[in-house]
């Protein structure tokens, strides 16, 4: 595994109000971060997280809207219940809960996601690579960023 941690960002497509931030996420995301855009955090099936974790993601970030700002009324708070429990549960069997982070963005936030991602990356770098549940066999050809 390379030095820089591999992070997966599940992004609710509405949480970034500022077009500039959205553009940054869409085009200038660092190479070690994979973006998976979903219509709402409520859309995120825990199986997504499982797949990311089992395939060797060192950290998973979910960015969504603040409670009461959800584009789909209750998607984010439903996601909060299910995904928080899932991350607690993964922690129970060997995937640190610090490796899964929810980022709730206020509509008025701007330029926050870049910093939060950097802070998250630093936090994951300090934790080191996640190996406990990374059980999917690495493919020999292709590799990262394929």
């Amino acid at each position: 595994m390379s030095e820089t941690p591999k992070l997966v960002l599940f992004q609710c497509q509405w949480c970034l109000f500022a077009p500039a931030d959205q553009e940054w996420v869409d085009t200038q995301l660092p190479e070690n971060i994979h973006l998976a855009k979903v219509p709402c955090t409520g859309r995120i099936n825990p199986l997504y997280l499982l797949n990311a974790v089992q395939s060797g993601a060192d950290g998973v970030m979910v960015s969504g809207c603040l409670p009461e700002q959800c584009h789909f009324k209750t998607g984010n708070i439903a996601a909060r219940r299910q995904l928080e429990e899932f991350s607690d549960y993964l922690n129970h069997i060997g995937y640190e809960q610090d490796r899964i982070r929810f980022l709730w963005l206020d509509l008025q936030d701007r330029g926050v996601i870049q910093k939060e991602l950097a802070a998250f990356e630093a936090q994951i770098t300090a934790l080191g690579p996640a190996h406990n549940l990374a059980t999917r066999v690495a493919e020999t050809v292709g590799g990262a960023n394929a």
Binding site: P46, L47, L50, N51, Q54, L66, P67, E68, T74, I77, A78, R80, R81, Q82, L83, E84, E85, F86, D88, Y89, L90, N91, H92, I93, G94, E96, F102, W104, N132, L133, T135, R136, V137
Partner: protein, 317 residues
């Protein structure tokens, strides 16, 4: 122990009066120590009905296998009655199409523990009134403490009495202490991350993907399980570490807010995988965070089906 004659009489009554089309219960199995589920359709067949501490299946599992318009009578213990409630909530059988004959349950004996303690082939067992079990084996009779033979889930059972049963046969038992389940989860959680993971890996490694746990679980009634799904292939389907771990992680997670801690999955497992330390963690979380226990009635939705703004969550800013 409930009066087996009263149980039979009630089963016969509801069959003969036409209140139900069928009674699900147990009958003696082909091998000793293994009573098997039975489906009695006539009053005469009810004579075969048995009920003892070795009846280890969760009968609610069979509820989903019969048409919804069929009237079903069922012998239920605490956990089974809760499973039935959960299934009624999920619309798997109408409430008025059910007749539940409740029996307070003193716990299910794990036949593996008998074998373990006697160390030899066992022919039969007799429950005695002083909380001991008389075991007949190859070399004679043993008296064992019942307490030591109980299945792990049963030793921590919170609701031994059937809930929302039409009739209860036998005397109600005192409710269990939720602290026991809490302590077990806490004890596991106090281990280090590496120890917890090592334990999980060790358990999952033995899995042979027979899906006996799935078959034994009353809540696993999906037409197509997520592991059988092809696009996308949610988790590896073979006995690779990823596949085995993924299966156990998600199987348990799918029972969040639905599992009654009956332990049927664990008893069904041919590889003796201790699956309940996963489900109990989730059940404990539901109790702690949302004050929710499944199956106490057939109308309260599980936490994942409800949303509220005022969750206390570490994710909230």
């Amino acid at each position: 122990m409930p009066d087996i004659d009263a149980l039979k009489a009630e089963a016969k009554r509801i069959l003969s009066e036409g209140m139900v089309d069928m009674v699900i219960g147990f009958k003696a199995g082909d091998t000793p120590l293994h009573p098997q589920p039975a489906f009695f359709k006539t009053p005469d067949e009810v004579d075969q009905l048995v009920y003892n501490a070795l009846c280890q299946n969760n009968l609610a599992t069979y509820l989903t296998r019969f048409p919804k318009n069929q009237k079903i009578g069922m012998v239920v213990r605490g956990c089974e009655s809760r499973s039935v409630n959960a299934l009624v909530f999920e619309g798997q059988h109408p409430k008025d199409g059910l007749y539940l004959i409740g029996v307070p349950c003193e716990g299910i004996i794990d036949w593996r523990k008998i074998v373990e303690q006697t160390g030899e082939e066992v022919f039969s067992i007799f429950e005695q009134s002083n909380n001991t079990v008389l075991v007949e084996s190859k070399s004679g009779f043993f008296t064992l403490e019942k307490e030591t033979l109980l299945h792990e889930s049963c030793s921590r059972c919170i609701h031994p009495n059937p809930i929302s049963a039409n009739v209860v046969i036998g005397e109600l038992l005192p409710e269990g202490d939720p602290a026991l389940a809490r302590e077990k989860v806490a004890a596991f959680a106090s281990l280090s991350m590496e120890e917890r993971h090592a334990w999980f890996r060790q358990e999952a490694e033995r899995c042979i993907r027979c899906y006996a746990c799935r078959e034994a679980c009353p809540m696993c009634y999906c037409e197509e399980c997520f592991v059988d799904h092809i696009t996308p292939r949610w988790t590896e389907s073979g006995t690779t570490p990823a596949g085995m771990q993924g299966w156990h992680i998600v199987r348990a997670f799918h029972q969040t807010g639905r599992c009654t801690s009956c332990g049927a999955c664990e008893r069904a497992c041919p590889m003796d995988i201790k699956m309940t330390y996963l489900t109990e963690k989730l059940n404990e979380d539901m109790r702690r965070k949302y004050n929710f226990e499944v199956g106490l009635d057939a109308t309260t939705p599980p936490p994942f089906s409800t949303v509220t703004l005022d969750d206390k969550s570490r994710f909230v800013i």
